[in-house]
């Protein structure tokens, strides 16, 4: 098996085993969404109006929590040296780490997102689209969040710094994804939003590994 395949399996196993793995992220999603009916009141009208948007924001936050330590553990225990000196370029290492995180945390979150949105009052027929946007959005979050986590390496307030770096960068996918769902349930043209979301996710996957690798090299040096 190639070195990157070996790395991918290790990343999946680490993400899966790390303090509850995806269950923790899904649990956070469920708990945070439960707060909204409690805060806004149980009347279905206002809840349904914000359901898609709320589900998206909480999805973004849940993904962010899973990414906080993406590079930090390897940086602290010296494994990042090993990864930086391997045969594959560090850019590929960073991309593999983000992809593994997307698979382990993003995919279960994307499965939970339609349930959450429907529970808040979205129509059930929107479920496939919510799943698709959550999956694509999760890809964008994983790569953008990975860049934030790499930039925050070696700083003492890593978690908070990651959030402050990443939150502005995930505005576009939140807008595109939320708009696609709102357009679909309103009977309008929704493919544009989905296409823009896919474009953003792919651009993030293509470009951020360079930023991540540069940030890691800077932290190691």
């Amino acid at each position: 098996m190639s070195a990157l395949g070996v790395l991918f399996r290790r990343e999946v196993s680490l993400a899966w085993g790390n303090g509850g793995g995806p269950l923790l992220a899904v649990g956070f999603l469920a708990a945070a969404l439960t707060l909204f009916p409690l805060a806004l009141g149980p009347a279905p009208g206002p809840l349904a109006a914000v359901a898609a948007g709320v589900a998206w924001v909480v999805l973004a936050l849940a993904t962010l929590l899973t990414l906080e330590r993406l590079f930090e553990r390897d940086f602290e225990d010296g494994a990042l040296d090993l990864l930086a000196l391997g045969a594959p370029p560090l850019e590929a290492v960073c991309a593999v780490k983000c992809l593994a995180s997307w698979l382990v945390n993003g995919a279960p979150l994307a499965l939970a997102a339609p349930l959450a949105a429907i529970a808040l009052g979205e129509p059930a027929r929107a479920a496939p689209l919510i799943f698709a946007t959550a999956l694509l959005g999760g890809l964008a979050f994983a790569f953008v969040g990975g860049a934030g986590a790499a930039l925050a390496l070696a700083s003492r307030r890593g978690g908070l710094l990651t959030a402050v770096i990443v939150l502005p960068l995930i505005i576009p996918p939140v807008i595109f994804g939320g708009a696609a769902i709102a357009a679909y349930t309103g009977g309008l043209e929704w493919r544009t939003g989905l296409a823009l979301l896919a474009a953003y996710a792919l651009a993030a996957a293509a470009l951020t590994p360079f930023a991540m690798a540069a940030a890691c090299r800077n932290a190691l040096g």
């Binding site: 070195a3 790395l7 290790r10 196993s13 553990r73 225990d77 494994a79 040296d81 090993l82 000196l85």
Partner: protein
């Protein structure tokens, strides 16, 4: 294979602090270089600069043999820092197999290396249950499993007991006999014949 490593007029800085300047040295195949110096003199930084993780402020590091420095660093050297890079929650076997295969070794080679370093019985344990010396031997198993010419070792003996140090000496002697090179940052003398490079503050 790396035939020799040359440090030419090397200088390193960390932040505003100058660690050393004008350092020149050479290691050829089959030779070991013991880098000594006071705490904070720059021994670890020198090893990291050779590995390409730090940029020297002056001078250059030349590798004879590989096409360029990048190839030398990504295919022909091992860096064993004073951290072992092992994850406490995973088993010794999982971590060894990952580290060895990431460095280009096969499963058989990794298991043979574990046996060579006397770790066969520890492989099923979680890394956090290993002692510091066992962890260090586990990290060393990657070097034995995946043959690369240049070993950069940072305090390789520190957590090892007397039999562990003797074993380490044997492994290092075999590596040199096979045409390898060793640069080790040490406070205690290495268990093999080595030239000494002292970094003065």
């Amino acid at each position: 294979m790396i035939a020799a490593v040359r440090l030419r007029d090397l200088g390193l800085e960390r932040g505003a602090r100058v660690l050393f300047t004008g350092l020149s040295a050479q290691v050829a195949a089959g030779e070991a270089l013991a880098v000594t110096g006071a705490n904070g003199a720059g021994k670890t930084s020198l090893l990291r600069a050779v590995a390409g993780l730090l940029r020297p402020s002056q001078g250059e590091i030349l590798f004879e043999g590989p096409a360029d420095a990048s190839e030398a660093r990504h295919a022909h050297l091992h860096l064993l820092g004073h951290q072992d890079g092992l994850k406490g929650a995973r088993t010794a076997c999982e971590e060894l197999l990952f580290q060895a295969r990431w460095s280009g070794a096969g499963v058989d080679g990794a298991l043979a290396a574990a046996e060579r370093l006397g770790l066969t019985r520890q492989l099923s344990l979680e890394v956090r249950r290993l002692s510091a010396g066992q962890k260090r031997r586990l990290a060393l198993a990657r070097l034995v499993a995946s043959p690369r010419a240049l070993w950069l070792l940072d305090e390789p003996l520190a957590p090892l007991d007397a039999p562990g140090r003797a074993l380490m000496g044997e492994v290092m002697a075999e590596h040199l006999a096979a045409g390898g090179l060793i640069m080790a940052a040490v406070h205690d003398p290495l268990p093999i014949a080595a030239r000494v490079l002292e970094i003065a503050a």
